[in-house]
């Protein structure tokens, strides 16, 4: 670098006005900082020599950077821009968006929120607090309503020192806000930025946002609204590209005795028809290889014990007696109300065969009830077990001590409110999660606590057993979800990636995938085999408290604070349905056994039924990633709404015969 070029540089860099050696020196320092940042050491020393700058002349801010990565990256916010210019830039951008063609307006408007946030953060970082305040107050009201919560949190960051401890700042820094834009809108934007020479804006957009350009029609405001709401924007195309094996596992061959012994059907002419039905079902079960199904050995699964086979046979028999639910033939609902719980109940769960109901309470106990006339019994002691004959058919009955039979059992052990419980398929185990950060495994034979899994240090919001047993997964405040096996005291998989606490978790029917819903308003689908995230689904405008997979594994329903239920197609990660109607947070979802009806319940004390078969049937077999969510927002799929007196609905569950069970604590205000 020669002497004359150093003098021309400041003039070129200092685009705006102002003379004076101080600003020249400042820009010189800025150049030096830039060189140092990019490790151009030789150039740096040369420049220093030429411009006669000593090392200690360079502003302290650069040198006193501590090792913390956060402050280094935050220094990227440092800009020499004049604070008053920010307002002008933002207003110009707003005007540009307003004046653009209607087709592009929706997509360009999506830019306003992230640009606003980044500009505000830059102002705060560079110490222009007053200007920042004015900027914030002026423009925050105009942002979309669903970003309100984030804006409130952002408003607490009013000084530079606040930025370092704040989690939200970190997430805004690390994950670039993603905006999906069609190519045409993108060219409009580029043209605007280049024409007006808006260096600041260009800088922000290039570094802090990620614009995912796709070839296709620009989306309307309505379509964009449907999929926006995520804390860091929408999902990139690559995030949802990998193949998801959503099919069900191949069922093993089980010899089922076809004689129906418990349902005496007197009419002879019905019997031949029934037999034909059974045969059809069986032949369907010996399914051809589903290309979308994972192999049975993709993840290690426990072998089927004899008791499991008997249970499966029972399940088939029950399935035959299943009632078909249609809009004319609505299901009967049996509601279990918990009285006298005084707002203590935190979670309710019903087992798969509908015989056991377990509830977690904020005083750290778990109560388990039997919904059938069979009472809950404890297993006999070791001494007594030795004496029974093990080869008898009803050894499982003899194993239980009738003297201990009771309608409900209490499990104590946690030291904080129990936020979630889950029962295993074989009804031997119950797993519970609590605010004390532990997950506990209980035996439903001895009614005692077997294992305490310590891994999360913060409250664990949700826990669920795998449909094949042996594995269970937990979701916690520390933004991770973990996969555990009952025989390992440490987690097998850690699913990290959410920007805020993970509120709900659910296994896919084939146990190969796990879905998590978080307070960052996204739903993620994780692969159990590798622990990687295979789908990111945005669209919720509030935290997600409930997830359910459809019985065929293809679709996922999610619901939460924003009072809408969203239906997703897992094959390509697109939104296929939006169900509005609830007036309070939704805490429970349940698909009917054939996947045609969805029942939901929540804080509005209401159980609602939705005809989702209509939604699924209107989908093509192959969706297109580029085409935005083809959601029909006008049609109403709700066909039943049942109000309780003062009982929020914390659990809904379809039995094997499609009877709907629901449960909640009676909370008179």
């Amino acid at each position: 670098m020669e002497g004359n070029s150093t003098e021309t540089r400041p003039q070129a860099a200092n685009g705006a006005s102002t003379n004076g050696s101080s600003t020249d020196k400042q820009t010189l320092y800025a150049v030096l900082q830039y060189l140092r940042k990019n490790n151009l050491k030789e150039t740096e020393t040369l420049l220093k020599k030429e411009a006669n700058i000593q090392d200690d002349d360079v502003p302290k801010e650069q040198q006193s950077q501590n090792a913390s990565e956060v402050s280094q990256a935050l220094a990227a916010y440092k800009s020499e821009g004049d604070p008053s210019l920010y307002e002008d830039f933002y207003t110009n951008l707003k005007n540009f968006v307003e004046q653009s063609l209607d087709t592009y307006k929706g997509e360009l408007a999506a830019l306003l929120y992230p640009v606003f946030v980044q500009m505000y953060l830059e102002l705060i970082y560079n110490g222009h607090e007053v200007a920042g305040q004015i900027f914030f107050i002026k423009f925050s009201q105009e942002q979309e309503s669903y970003y309100e919560d984030d804006l409130i949190k952002l408003s607490t960051v009013s000084k530079k020192e606040h930025m370092q401890g704040n989690q939200l700042m970190e997430s805004f820094r690390t994950s670039r806000f993603v905006i999906r834009m069609s190519r045409e809108s993108y060219t409009q934007l580029k043209r605007y930025l280049q024409e007006k020479k808006q260096a600041l804006l260009l800088n922000i957009i290039q570094e802090r946002l990620f614009i995912d350009v796709y070839d296709g029609l620009p989306r309307t405001k309505q379509q964009i609204d449907v999929t926006s709401g995520g804390m860091s924007g929408e999902a990139r195309r690559e995030a949802n590209k990998s193949k998801v094996l959503y099919g069900l596992l191949k069922e093993p061959d089980i010899n089922i005795s076809l004689d129906d012994d418990d349902d005496a059907d007197g009419e002879d002419k019905d019997k031949p028809k029934k037999k034909k039905q059974k045969k059809d079902l069986l032949s369907m079960k010996k399914s051809k290889n589903d290309p979308n199904a994972p192999s049975n050995t993709r993840i290690p699964l426990p072998e089927l014990k004899d008791t499991d086979k008997i249970e499966k046979a029972n399940a088939y028999k029950e399935a035959l007696k299943r009632v078909k639910i249609t809009q004319e033939n609505k299901p009967s609902i049996c509601f279990y109300t918990l009285l006298n719980s005084y707002e203590n109940t935190t979670s309710i769960e019903i087992s798969e065969d509908s015989s056991i109901l377990s509830a977690g309470f904020s005083d750290a106990v778990i109560k388990v009830w039997s919904t059938t006339p069979n009472k809950l019994r404890c297993m006999k002691t070791g001494v007594e077990l030795d004496m029974i004959d093990k080869d008898v058919d009803d050894v499982l009955e003899r194993m239980m001590d009738d003297r201990t039979a009771s309608e409900y059992k209490t499990l104590c052990g946690h030291s904080g409110p129990v936020y979630s419980t889950s029962l295993s398929m074989d009804k031997n185990f119950l797993v519970s999660s609590s605010e004390d950060g532990t997950v506990r495994l209980w035996s439903l034979l001895t009614w005692s606590n077997l294992v305490c899994y310590k891994g999360h240090i913060s409250p664990v919001w949700d826990v669920t057993f795998s449909p094949h047993g042996h594995y269970f997964a937990s979701a916690s405040h520390d933004r991770t979800a973990r996969l555990w096996a009952t025989d390992h005291y440490q987690p097998l998989r850690i699913f990290a990636g959410h920007l805020s606490d993970v509120d709900s978790i659910q296994f896919h029917p084939n146990s190969n995938y796990i879905a998590t819903g978080s307070s960052d308003r996204t739903v993620r689908l994780w692969d159990v085999l590798g622990g990687n995230c295979v789908r990111i689904l945005t669209g919720h405008k509030g935290a997600i408290h409930c997830l359910r997979f459809s019985p065929d594994g293809r679709y996922l329903a999610s619901a939460g604070v924003d009072k809408t239920i969203l239906l997703w197609d897992l094959a390509n990660g697109t939104l296929v349905g939006q169900l509005k109607g609830h007036t309070g947070t939704i805490y429970s979802l349940s698909f009917s056994r054939d996947g045609s009806v969805l029942a939901s319940g929540g804080m509005d004390n209401c159980v609602k039924l939705w005809q989702v078969s209509k939604v699924f049937n209107s989908q093509d077999s192959e969706g297109d990633l580029n085409v935005p969510a083809n959601v029909d927002l006008n049609e109403n799929y709700e066909f039943g709404s049942y109000q309780t007196k003062a009982t929020p609905v914390l659990c809904t569950h379809f039995t094997r015969r499609n009877l709907l069970l629901a449960s909640g604590p009676y909370t008179p205000s």
Binding site: I152, Q167, P300, E303, L450, H470, T480, D487, R493
Partner: protein
């Protein structure tokens, strides 16, 4: 919920406006009291810590740096924030790289190794009769006719064990030697004075008795649990 009237103290009004700023609109009126109590306690704790740091640094008055340090320490101690995302991803990557372990079939309920389970007993069994086990003692004790007992009160030589004089303290006779069992005598806090009402000490033997030690004493002489 009810907006604080002019008569509520200034602190309460400030707290109400903080809640409003943070977007909390629906809350019971007692919440303000709870928040104020918490704030008061937190601030006094921080200032106390800051005073300690200022004293340590030899300063007379509290400085902002002292307060900052106090807040930082309190944060690390009580409020554990979730780990930063980079660390989480790192840990997750490491954990997820190990393949899922295979499941051994036909092993009954699959539980972790016993020491990670809560399935062991939470009680100890008390011996009903004195164990007829040979107990070895260090060689030095064999010059005496009775075992040497080290108590809080002093050594009593040639005196049969008189637990009554112990005054209810728990004593432990630990005799260690080559392949000898350790005998721990635990006396419960007795009903003090009367020597006659002697609580039965529980004798806990931690190793199996040895057989080959020539310095063994006969069991009949080991009347530790009987008053003399």
């Amino acid at each position: 919920m009810a907006a604080p009237t002019k008569s509520t103290p200034k602190d309460a009004q400030v707290m109400a406006s903080i809640l409003k700023d943070m977007g909390v609109t629906d809350y019971e009126p007692r919440v303000i009291n709870q928040m104020l109590e918490f704030t008061y306690r937190y601030v006094t704790d921080v200032l106390d810590d800051a005073k300690v740091y200022a004293n340590h640094a030899g300063k007379k008055n509290i400085d902002t740096e002292d307060v900052k340090l106090a807040i930082q320490c309190k944060l690390d101690h009580s409020y554990t924030t979730p780990p930063p995302k980079d660390l989480l991803m790192e840990v997750a990557k490491h954990r997820n790289s190990q393949s899922l372990p295979l499941i051994k079939p036909y092993t009954g309920p699959k539980l972790p190794p016993d020491r990670y389970c809560l399935s062991s007993t939470n009680y100890k069994l008390k011996a009903l009769k004195k164990p007829r086990l040979p107990v070895g003692l260090p060689a030095s004790a064999y010059t005496l006719s009775s075992p040497k007992i080290i108590t809080s009160g002093g050594v009593s030589k040639n005196q049969p064990l008189n637990l009554a004089s112990m005054g209810g303290t728990s004593l432990s006779v630990v005799s260690k030697g080559v392949s000898m069992p350790t005998v721990t005598l635990v006396t419960k806090q007795g009903t003090s004075s009367s020597a006659a009402a002697m609580p039965m000490p529980t004798i806990r033997l931690t190793t199996t008795p040895s057989q080959s030690n020539p310095l063994k004493r006969k069991a009949e002489d080991d009347d530790y649990d009987k008053p003399s």
